[in-house]
Assembly symmetry: C2
Homo-oligomer: 461 residues x 2
Amino acid sequence: MADNSKIDEVLSTLDENLPQSLDRLMEFLRIPSISTDPAYKDRVRQAADWLCAELASLGFEASVRDTPGHPMVVAHSQKGDRRPALFYGHYDVQPVDPLELWDRPPFEPEIQDTPNGKVIRGRGSSDDKGQLMTFVEAARAWKEIHGSLPSDLVLLFEGEEESGSPSLRPFLRENAAELRAGIAMICDTSLYADGRPAITTQLRGLYGDEIILRGADRDLHSGGFGGLAANPLQVLVDILSGIKDADGRITLPGFYDGVEELTEELRADWEALGFDAGEFLSRVGLKHPIGERGRTGLEMVWNRPTFEINGITGGYTGEGFKTVLPAEARAKVSFRLTGAQNPGKIRDSFRAYVRARVPADCAVEFQDHGASPASRMDISDPAFAAAKAALTEEWGREAAYIGAGGSIPIAGDFKEILGMDTMLIGFARDDDRIHSPNEKYDLESFAKGARSWVRILAALS
Amino acid sequence: MADNSKIDEVLSTLDENLPQSLDRLMEFLRIPSISTDPAYKDRVRQAADWLCAELASLGFEASVRDTPGHPMVVAHSQKGDRRPALFYGHYDVQPVDPLELWDRPPFEPEIQDTPNGKVIRGRGSSDDKGQLMTFVEAARAWKEIHGSLPSDLVLLFEGEEESGSPSLRPFLRENAAELRAGIAMICDTSLYADGRPAITTQLRGLYGDEIILRGADRDLHSGGFGGLAANPLQVLVDILSGIKDADGRITLPGFYDGVEELTEELRADWEALGFDAGEFLSRVGLKHPIGERGRTGLEMVWNRPTFEINGITGGYTGEGFKTVLPAEARAKVSFRLTGAQNPGKIRDSFRAYVRARVPADCAVEFQDHGASPASRMDISDPAFAAAKAALTEEWGREAAYIGAGGSIPIAGDFKEILGMDTMLIGFARDDDRIHSPNEKYDLESFAKGARSWVRILAALS
């Protein structure tokens, strides 16, 4: 069992050793582990080897494990008597182009002073090397004071997160017994907008589809055929326009089956966030929430399903004008899903709705773009309350359970393949410019992130 | 006054001299007068010079008249005591690419035997050199028998019809007194589908517009903003879908002002054509007329206004999928107009309708793509009945008054600038492949076309 009275000593050690922790992070950041570019294959492996060596030096039983793509790094601490926990991060990084928009070479990181405090500037500083190293440094300080690592930890570091994680699901399946734990922790998310610590407890699912409508066997001239012949673009807009009603509700039969209202606990947490939809939208040049009538802004993005048109093309779209009735029209659409909505049933309902509205002279074809259900963590698991309290203590303000409007497929994979819920805890900030030039990670995020993990590890003991 | 008893002599002369007429046409077709390609500028002028010389040799007072673009050829016969008539054609031709799809060089014309009879194969044979030469050869035979040309004829031949006629309107304005006549005749149209002779007496107008909708100041991720932020593509489809109701009628206020029902005379003529909408649509892979409820197929394409979506673009349209809410969406749309519909008023009504449906977080901009009213000829002018009777006699079947779903801007220009109605009379066929490789003109069209003009000239005397 960990000795919780030693927490303050571990935290002091972390603070004292921050310069050395940063040196190690800088060394890690200098390895250009770009997973999408085959030219960097050896550098990705170099990052895996570096990480594995770090973990082994701390006393983890660590190994680099081959996959058909880039390797995984897996590490175990000594066996204890606790419910094991799995920590996930990724050591690969995004490409750096456009290089000319960087103020300094992306793989020559440095600490910079900014009006908002010190930052670590460089590719991967926030996404995700800086974040995963908060956990590694927490474990290092823990060992220094306790003489041993926290027991029953499994660490899993992936090298393909930025290229779609093609090897992850097979790897989880093949190594399920080794990796299965009581709870998973993923450190790849952000603090809530105002810097408040947060645990993401629900993620929306996604179902994407493409409608391809075909009419005449060629583009027609609207002088000769307009008013007589079916126009696939008109058919398409009529279909798409009918999917939402005037209140912003989706009209597909059975669509809301499985959608759940917020619990009182989550509703209170979300209300306490003081989310201002107008202010949020103003950052992208908008002002007015346009979603379902009678829903709060956070419900709209986190807890309500949506229908979105992501792309339409058809007919003449170049300069000038052509009076054409196009032979074909296409739309890419997607639904964000919540609660227990069943993506397969929604696909069936959507396609039946479309087919029923295609006139005799048009043919419709669909192109599947994937489906995954929403993720909802079981926050009655005591690990959540423990982690929430630990975050609250470290950051000096109430930590919140929040949602996310997007999907993090890895959390879904952990649930589906390993049966684990995930605590998504991260310390990035919205202005970290991940995936963009001049990526940074706040020094505060790094230092307090590592301290947060010490407290969470103690609380989970 | 022409001596109508000599018609048969003129017709016999035409028939006897057909080989020489064809030789002249072949010489004309060998001049590659492609007006859109600056490399052929001298060849376009060569065609104008050739035509002017032909007309002068017949006794016309003919001249090549410079414009800022390619020249016009204008010719006058001797002054008589009749109401003068203007005949229009164009001596420029379409480009020939893709050249590899031609069975023989496009400017080396020849007479070919086909299962449907003899044809003149070559670029410009149908559009429009072959057609305009039917009139020139009619005049030549007329002179041979009568000793003089038909009086009071003005001939106008343009060299820019295939490049949008940029010089035509200024030329008509500057030479209005010289060109104004009692009636215009344009020989650039086709026989009705089954080979029945026809005079086109009405053309639909056109108003084209483009809607540009802008939302956020960047593309948004549907995970972060979906359900909360305005999606310009959704706004666009809702707007476009509302323009037609379930009966195919257009909902814009005042849209049908000026639309006219068919007269009994035209309704009878059109019914006699035996138009089969299903058969017509089957040529392009369709079957079912989809226009306004309660209208015949020919009404839908000739006498009813329409709304058409000609192109939409917005969001991600490449391979695969992106869960984007686009910053911008665009649609090119057009309305075909009939009767006395006022394009300016319809533009105002359309734009007001769109603006009223744009939410506060979107901005709309329009890009004008031109507007022209419908053309309706005054068929109570005796010239129409005279020409119709002449065509009926020549072709041995009842000539018809027909409409056209598209626009022929020149007819509108004659009306607007010179105050003349136009009889659109032509002998092309739907399978002539104008603007395409292997263009042809039926020998029967050429021979009977010239004979038709002899009869029409006699009838107009």
